[in-house]
């Protein structure tokens, strides 16, 4: 039968890819819908939506220029009125800058760096882990020893070396933080790939004549995406804090760009003198964002797992 069927025309292949995308879109929509029924995932999504909104529209929402210093308005408590009719709703810092305005501007860098660095590190690490786990042999040895060497090196030292060579700046800091994370993903993906490689459905794909690329990304990857999303959501937190540390050292974003991390770093000197608002508000912003990523990660894990999904769907109809 197959021999008589004509070679597929380009229209056919287009139809195939069209079907595949619409099928995938439907899957995504289902995953999204089942996430909406999970309360905590919903909370996480809402908070992240707010943070994203703030990151985009911060400049229009902020009552002050985040960098305007006012020596007369130093270390005001939250709610105190400053010069004119403007209130420092969340207080002011040691240079008289408005904490609320800096917080609103800071969302931009923190969110961007957090997400982009994880995207870079996650992608690099996943590819390295898949290759390492599936092929084994010398390439596995090389990649994993490279990772061991990197882990034996204090990250901050590595980051300083990179940034001294590359120069500071947003793109470079994303790259450095991403490269700092790859081995975490590579190890998890490698371990999962090692066990999945021997599964009979992977063998079935090989017996069917699937290409190695297809086996890695179509058969194995979807089966390990769940732990990855969870790790990634936790990781965003660490990366946001690392960005803070680097900004504090003057290697991150230029000092005139407010970030939550640098705000937290600057608050250190004033904690003992009861200037709590300088630490609490950026800390709270980081906490809420990180927590939301975790909720989102949990919800995503459940929504992406077909066995969990029926549970979630039954929950939704209750």
């Amino acid at each position: 039968m197959a021999a008589t069927s004509p070679a597929p025309s380009s229209a056919d292949t287009q139809a195939v890819s069209g079907m595949a995308t619409s099928y995938r879109r439907k899957e995504l929509r289902r995953a999204f819908q089942s996430m909406l029924t999970s309360r905590w995932a919903l909370v996480g999504m809402l908070i992240l939506l707010v943070v994203t909104f703030v990151a985009i529209f911060g400049p229009w929402l902020a009552p002050f220029d985040p960098n305007r210093q006012n020596i007369m308005m130093r270390l005001l408590e939250p709610g105190e009125a400053g010069a004119g009719s403007l209130t420092y709703w969340l207080g002011s810092d040691q240079l008289g800058r408005d904490v609320l305005s800096r917080l609103l501007y800071g969302a931009r860098v923190s969110l961007l760096v957090g997400v982009a660095a994880i995207a870079v590190g996650g992608t690099l690490g996943t590819i390295a882990g898949l290759v390492s786990g599936y092929f084994g042999g010398w390439i596995d040895d090389v990649l994993m020893r490279l990772g061991d060497i990197q882990l034996a090196f204090p990250f901050i030292l590595l980051a300083i070396m990179f940034l001294v060579v590359l120069g500071p700046g947003l793109v470079n800091i994303i790259l450095v933080l991403g490269i700092g994370q790859w081995i975490t993903y590579a190890r998890i993906v490698r371990a999962q790939t090692l066990s999945l490689r021997e599964k009979e459905y992977v063998e079935a794909a090989r017996a069917m004549g699937d290409s190695t690329f297809s086996i890695l990304f179509r058969t194995i990857l979807p089966n390990i995406i769940a732990p990855l999303t969870v790790i990634a959501s936790f990781n965003v937190a660490g990366v946001i804090l690392s960005e803070a540390a680097l900004s504090f050292l003057g290697l991150g974003v230029p000092p005139d760009v407010p970030t939550w991390g640098s705000m937290l770093s600057e608050s250190r000197d004033h904690l003992l003198s009861n200037k709590w608002w300088m630490a609490v508000f950026p800390g709270l912003a980081i906490l809420l964002t990180v927590m939301s990523f975790n909720f989102l990660g949990d919800g995503l894990r459940d929504a992406l797992d077909p066995q969990q999904r029926s549970v979630i769907e039954s929950r939704g109809t209750k």
Binding site: M1, A2, S5, P8, E200, Y201, A207, T219, P306
Partner: protein, 322 residues
Amino acid sequence: MTAPLLQVDNLQKYFPIHGGVLRRVVNNVKAVDGISFDINPGEVVGLVGESGSGKTTVGRTILRLEQATSGAVRFGGTDVMGLGTSQMRAYRKKMQIIFQDPYASLNPREKIREILTHPLRLHKIGSASEHEDRAAALLEKVGLARDHLDRFPHEFSGGQRQRIGIARALAVEPQFIVADEPVSALDVSIQAQVINLLEDLKNDLDLTMLFIAHDLGVVEHICDRVIVMYLGRVMEIASAADLYARPNHPYTKALLSAVPIPEPGKRRERVALKGDIPSPINPPSGCVFRTRCPLATPECAKVVPELKPVGEGHTSACIHTT
């Protein structure tokens, strides 16, 4: 006589054991140690032996899921062992496998639709619009229904999953199927269903099959010929009827004596084997079965017995009985 569809010629598969700091090969597990047999078109050949005898490795090596250490596997006259990836793909369409464990053989993330239409897309069988109908037809062929297409594997029972595994293997319309203990993971009541399904499919689709099993009762039912393996070597080859009526090799006799007779009160003479199968790292010299053989003599340690004819299409490898 027609030319055999599949010829296995002196196939060897050694798994190296690495040791020491330099990870040098210190020894080999001789899973398959030089076996040869032919399978004719339309024939179902059983491959039996106890656990560790290398029968699964034979099946996997034929399909190049394992790379053979040496030897040839000719499919329709072409040695598939030396083919490159793209040339091999054409043969993947002709040779398929049914796996032992239906719980591990289906991708838990894929719907049945995807599991069954992917092979069609991969091998460009039919047009895109036909794929769904073909997938549904495959499901019906194995006794499932069209509306099962949108379900995930975890929504099915073991027997149903094994049917889906069979449907996937049939999707590319293969000429030859390796069935690797397709029923040993199933309940006895389900085993019969799947065996009957395989038999029907074999008749309808004119399939050639290598049926790997350790249950001789099942093999007697479905197979035309039987190959008995022990520790990576062939002990005896005979037609199913001949093998059960006139087993020649002492190992075959021992295996057959372990098959229960479904008749109360009737007893068979038991040939109980002592001990376990020896390690395939250091197999016994001469005849590999001599350490457990009731007929063993000192000579058995000296020569490796060859397969000698003992009847019409019946060969056996024992210096005492041939």
